[in-house]
Symmetry: D2
Subunit: 141 residues, 4 copies
């Protein structure tokens, strides 16, 4: 299912943790990991394409996500999100993600995140925009 160590990911994004990410068990709540994924993917696309993907005529809607939780995370240390692409289709992109905190090269979580591109107005499936395809091609494992 793709590489797992921090150094094997083609791109890394740093995200700061927040006080209210932690739940009553004193660790970052499982829901927040998906905000890390969502933020890493969309932030990478905006920064790499140099365009505001929210204004494109085709937008990526999330079709499926998945996460395996391996180690607890805590506030206030930053996390790093490793980004790779395990499948680049005609209209969809399957991202493979890792979350890291502290010095360890081993992930605290491994995720899967699937974007399907649709027309912003009609929500019909369309090809991946060229700018997005160019941005993610170097991420393919």
């Amino acid at each position: 299912m793709g590489p797992h160590a921090r150094t094997e990911f083609p791109a890394l994004r740093t995200i700061t943790t927040r006080w209210d990410d932690e739940d009553v068990y004193g660790h970052i709540n499982n829901v927040t990991y998906y905000a890390f994924f969502d933020t890493a993917v969309n932030g990478f696309l905006i920064d790499t394409t140099g365009s505001d993907i929210r204004e494109l005529s085709a937008v990526g809607l999330v079709a499926e996500t998945q996460c395996e939780f391996l180690r607890e995370l805590r506030f206030p240390a930053d996390v790093q999100v490793g980004l790779g692409v395990s499948k680049l289709g005609e209209s969809s992109i399957v991202y493979h993600l890792g979350i890291f905190q502290g010095d360890s090269d081993e992930p605290a979580a491994i995720g899967r995140f699937v974007h399907v591109y649709v027309d912003a107005a009609t929500r019909k499936v369309v090809p991946i925009p060229e700018a997005v395809r160019a941005a993610v091609t170097p991420l393919v494992f």
Copy 2:
């Protein structure tokens, strides 16, 4: 500053609490109270006007909010949000809010929430839309 007891509020909205609303101290985090306010005001406006306020040419942007925290809240009991209007201006509405949980008539928090209406495209200040004014007029204390 307006009434404080549950029965003194002209409108009440019920909101379910969520597991991840709680933080490491085992109570609902202060940030979440503002999601209760935001949700109560906008939910009331959508339900009462019968129109999707997100699609109006004038939208309410939040200019100021404030909250005094009086008692801790916990998951999983519902909360009720009391809604009143302490000032209904030409372009702005000042809401006075109370948050309640359990049987007590005394609020767990008291809040203030100010909407200023702007043109959705230009963000210039405009008069409150008629449908919104009609909806909130019965809330004035």
Copy 3:
């Protein structure tokens, strides 16, 4: 992978949506669906066991979650979360979940949520507490 229609779920929990659940695309953000899952499972356990599961000596940590997004959800209508158990192990519970909005019997999303029980202090894997096992046994498909 278990039943999909609303009426096939052994338990249903109602959750109110919030204004800030929606993202820039005008629908409820994918991250929020996991807050629905987390809240439905833990709320069900607290209500059904009649005890505060946060205070038990064994707590359920989330080991894996997954969601398939089938239809968009919008504020302000409530959602219903259907709850079933597809695997009841010695130390772990695999929940099968459906999210519904409006009148349709068809789910807007289908999810998987895995709790592993650990000692609250040492975080070592332990058997599912008896009160929890009794609560979820009727949910097994």
Copy 4:
């Protein structure tokens, strides 16, 4: 009400924005600003005291917060939170905060955040812990 320009704040904390911070109006939702405040204050205290404030016998509970929204914020640029103390009491601390994005020295929002220290077990008001007092004293305007 204390200084307003970025350079006038005694401490600055950088926080990354998230995709789901934005709401349907295409800007960061008002609720999120309070997560910025909460995170900046608690992150500063943990880093500056060098101790885990969540484990102290006295913890800071939030008694009141307030925010004036001056300019819209957008994902994905970072925000900086300026931190100062406008009142350092026996048991309470009043923080004055500013939020900045981009190059401008002018704040996008100005906030107020009040911590009252209580015994972690009994929730009775107690003096501010010495480590916390030492950390925030240089923040007094």
